[in-house]
Subunit: 236 residues, 2 copies
DNA sequence: AAAACAAATAATGTCGACATTTTTATTTTT
DNA sequence: AAAAATAAAAATGTCGACATTATTTGTTTT
């Protein structure tokens, strides 16, 4: 480190860029920085307490993941959102997730099945006590993601899983935008739970056709809701 | 620019990082920098005639694309190759390409068909005069890629095409490695030509099952060849 | 001579400084 | 007053400098 007063983040061992990358990505995905917003260096420097070099390195990485855009001599900007992109991301994500699942059904072993059931149990427990508390909902989100991750993991392909994660992050940007303006419905959890049970059943029976159809339906329902809400968000 | 003596690359309008990104990526994909090789900053500074800042930004982007790896305080290294990764990349690539094609068959219009036939014609012309000259082979590669690109473009999904490009680049690293140690066979072009003709036939007849099966075979045959050659390359 | 330790050399990661460009504010002109 | 021209301010992109950490070399000890 160039100065003793510099140890801004908790995770030591990584450099500043990788630390700020996580925070910055979170801030973009969560909507702290709005789509299309200009990311001025002075503001970022203050917020993350680092110089321009690590910031530019982190932003360069987000550039590849298409979460920011850059124009020469005009700095970085949060990647704008659009109806077309939203639909394209969700559609592609559905295809990729279906691919992961079909591969997992082919290759998944006992350990895979066990991990799914374990993750499903954790998710159910979290969904039972629907407090609608912000932090409990956050926990449910984490377990929900973990559940679907456990399923996809069975494909046993790092390359494919890498693609999957990238698409999940891009989609979560739209989902968070939607969550900001819509309260969650309690009945949603029950419907979700039912879909999960059906999916697990199809997986264990190695019924690829049914499983991929179910996951497609499961993933695309938020995009249908977004399709109605997005226009108002884009304007105001 | 901080100094009048700095105008290293041809494409003006972009910043140094984006210019060096292209050269650096090319140098890694082509094998100028070997897998696992340490990328010392002094050497890179000399080669590309820029300071560390643009270099680190370019390397940060290659980090996301998994073409380099980084270890804190130990700098950047060319991503190592392995049999497992090679097989995984080619397998995933085959799945993604099949997905592109099935979507293209669903959505492709007249313009799509016309572009395919045009690209096929250019490719055939280039393949007819097999001189085995290095630069002519280079041109054939470009047209071959353009042909398959024209097909995939029909899916009309920027997100999916982005994934496709990323996988193509990762795979080309292995392919170039193989080309370095194996002369191209003249008969290969004929076999290739036949596969292309069949593929076009299936596409125009909108026969998804046959088209995806053909593309899978087409894409995976290099990986089979690599599977035999790689071990000797990995050793020395 | 091999191992353990110490000193030097080299390489990385970060910041501040500065030239260049873009954006905003002000003045001038028709 | 609206438009054009000019001046001022702010922001970007790059490099050199420097502290920190790895690596290599040299020396001492057993």
């Amino acid at each position: 480190m160039a100065d003793s007063a510099q140890q801004p983040a908790t995770e030591s061992g990584d450099n500043f860029a990788s630390q700020v990358l996580g925070s910055l990505k979170q801030d973009i995905l969560s909507g702290y920085f709005s789509p299309g917003e200009k990311l001025r260096m002075n503001r970022l420097k203050e917020r993350y307490q680092v110089g321009v070099s690590p910031l530019r390195e982190a932003l360069s990485q987000l550039l590849v993941e298409q979460l920011v855009i850059v124009e020469n001599q005009r700095g970085f900007t949060v990647h704008p959102i659009s109806m077309e992109e939203m639909l394209d991301i969700y559609e592609t994500r559905a295809h990729i997730e279906a691919l992961c699942i079909s591969q997992a059904i082919e290759k998944g072993d006992d350990e895979w099945e066990a991990n799914i059931l374990a993750a499903a149990h954790r998710l159910k427990k979290s969904g039972d006590l629907i407090d609608k508390q912000a932090d409990e909902l956050q926990e449910w989100e984490v377990r929900h993601q973990a559940f679907h991750s456990a399923i996809a993991q069975g494909c046993n392909s790092p390359t494919l899983l890498h693609v999957r994660r990238s698409l999940y992050e891009k989609a979560s940007r739209y989902r968070n935008l939607w969550l900001k303006h819509n309260m969650v419905d309690g009945t949603m959890f029950d419907a979700n739970q039912k879909e999960h049970d059906e999916l697990i059943d199809a997986l264990l029976k190695r019924d690829t056709a049914r499983a991929t159809a179910l996951i497609r339906q499961h993933l695309l329902s938020p995009s249908k809701a977004l399709k109605e809400t997005l226009p108002s968000l884009l304007e105001g």
